[in-house]
């Protein structure tokens, strides 16, 4: 069951993960982008955690909405508006809810994903975060439809994200800075898909 407590736990786990993976994500971005993705994500989620320290959120959706605004204000670049939009619509989907079960959580992920698609106008196969998120959220919906609980659902989603992430290596980028490289973007794992994979993995960790 998703509660306010679990929401906070997830956000703090994200703060920890992106601090840990800062160098790695930046290195991935240096290969096909501008070497800042880890710095950007870390800046954003440090600020999210600082905000949680400053003031306890009153509800799940308040926590996620504040996360969205902090990301939008602090991340910049391409990933700032994308993850910002994700959390904004994710929060809206859970508006008024004190607890949420797997179907609600899957629907919230779906709403967040749609926001990223709308904002970034990218498609699966463009070598972006969508290549990790789309198969993961599809898997969530299937598992939630089967009535699985949240940890099980997230477990399946992480597996799907991992496969999607691996598939970005051989793709030619069509969105973001990596697209300027054309064919030369092949052979490198997409940094944004990697950070999306961590986003899901952190959620799974929250239930462990």
């Amino acid at each position: 069951m998703l509660t306010l407590e679990m929401t906070e736990k997830w956000l703090r786990e994200l703060g920890r993960v992106y601090a840990e993976q800062k160098e790695y994500l930046t290195r991935l971005d240096s290969e096909i982008g501008d070497a800042d993705h880890g710095i950007n994500m870390n800046r954003g989620f440090s600020a999210v955690c600082a905000e949680l320290d400053k003031q306890s959120p009153s509800s799940i959706s308040a926590a996620l909405k504040s996360t969205a605004f902090v990301l939008i204000r602090t991340v910049g670049g391409a990933s700032g508006p994308l993850y910002g939009s994700f959390f904004l619509d994710f929060s809206k989907a859970l508006d008024g809810k004190d607890t949420a079960e797997s179907a609600d959580v899957a629907a919230a992920f779906q709403a967040g994903l749609e926001a990223i698609k709308k904002r970034g106008k990218a498609h699966v196969g463009d070598k972006t975060m969508l290549d990790a998120l789309v198969p993961a959220v599809e898997k969530m919906e299937v598992l939630a439809g089967e009535g699985k609980d949240i940890p099980t659902m997230l477990g399946g989603a992480v597996e799907a994200a991992e496969a999607g992430l691996a598939s970005t290596i051989e793709m030619v980028a069509k969105k973001g800075r990596a697209s300027y490289l054309g064919e030369r973007s092949k052979g490198h794992q997409d940094p944004g898909a990697t950070s999306s994979y961590y986003l899901l993995k952190a959620a799974l960790e929250t239930w462990k």
Binding site: I72, R73, K174, Y180
Partner: protein
């Protein structure tokens, strides 16, 4: 890394303070979020023109804030797009009741952040029009990619839209002039050396002692081709051809031209290159009627240059010639 800075994290804040101190007659720096406005308030009923983007391209954009050009500029971290709250606050600060034009260079980050800002401003009841500049012919344009990057023609767009707004054109017309500049404007750049982003601490790309990057982007993005060094004449032939053949410009066309240094190029060389480009245009039957030669849209200390051209007509020329008083561009006043 050798740089004239203190800590990499403090570069933007300190440079903004210095800029404000250097140009307090023209501009004012606002904090939290960061944006730069003119020192005087927007005239009631005047359209406001805003631009912004990553820092490290100075004088773009802050150096173009002032009478006859921008009303505000939003500086991001070095080579990183600013965040929507910057554009939102800047827009609110300079709206004169006639709406606000956002001039956005075509990078996914810039486009999305400006888009979110425009949404927020719309919710606050301010009419915002956005124009995306994508003039870099080095990138093959395609429906299936991010499209061309916004580079040198941004300077033309800011000057011309700024002049339109200054003389009282409404938001629709101001935005139209801006779009027109982008439609008839093209650019291409090259680099001899890389730039070094302070927070990265090492050169953005490696390049041999006898190599150049043809078609480089203003963040040191890869260009069309890595090649052996050539003469100024050959560079200008290649880049000139790419720029003038893209629309294409035709015999008899009149051009406004920017021969731009990337930040680390001696002015002496820019003049030499400008001579090459004049000769190139003459041979093509193109007439340069206005020109800028100097550092206008830079990439930190990168050595190299870019050529930008926009097809001039009477209306654009009148706007180009209108008085301007900014840190980076000044005439008629």
């Amino acid at each position: 890394m050798k740089k004239l800075i203190n800590a990499p994290d403090d570069v933007i804040e300190e440079a903004l303070t210095g800029m404000e101190l250097a140009h307090s007659d023209i501009l004012k720096v606002h904090r939290n979020p960061n944006f730069i406005t003119r020192s005087s308030k927007t005239r009631k009923g005047k359209v406001a023109v805003i631009s912004g983007g990553g820092s490290g391209h100075e004088p773009l954009h802050g150096g173009f804030v002032g009478l006859g050009m921008l009303d505000a500029a939003c500086p991001g971290a070095v080579f990183t797009s600013p965040t929507p709250d910057q554009m939102e606050e800047a827009t609110k600060a300079v709206d004169g009741g006639a709406g606000v034009l956002h001039i956005v260079k075509n990078y996914s980050g810039d486009v999305m952040n400006f888009e979110m800002a425009a949404d927020l401003c719309g919710e606050a009841g301010i009419s915002v029009e956005s124009v995306i500049i994508d003039d870099d012919v080095a990138v093959k344009d395609s429906l299936y990619t991010e499209g061309r990057r916004g580079v040198g023609c941004t300077v033309f767009a800011e000057k011309i839209a700024g002049a339109a707004a200054e003389r009282g054109d409404d938001l629709k017309k101001t935005a139209e002039f801006c779009r027109r500049v982008n439609e008839v404007g093209r650019s291409m750049g090259m680099a001899l050396t890389s730039c070094t982003v302070p927070s990265a601490g090492k050169p953005t790309f490696e390049i041999g002692a006898d190599e150049i990057e043809m078609g480089v982007g203003i963040h040191g993005e890869p260009g069309r081709e890595r090649m052996k060094q050539k003469t100024a004449h050959e560079y200008v032939q290649m880049m000139g051809e790419a720029v003038v053949s893209d629309i294409p410009y035709k015999n008899g066309d009149e051009l406004i031209v920017l021969l731009n240094g990337m930040g680390g190029t001696p002015l002496m060389e820019l003049y030499l290159l400008y001579n090459e480009f004049e000769q190139f245009c003459k041979a093509k039957g193109l007439k340069i009627v206005r020109r800028l030669v100097g550092n206008y849209i830079t990439s930190l200390e990168m050595q190299g240059f870019s050529i930008s051209a926009v097809k001039a007509d009477e209306k654009l020329l009148a706007l180009w010639d209108a008085p301007v008083h900014t840190a980076g561009l000044r005439w008629g006043i």
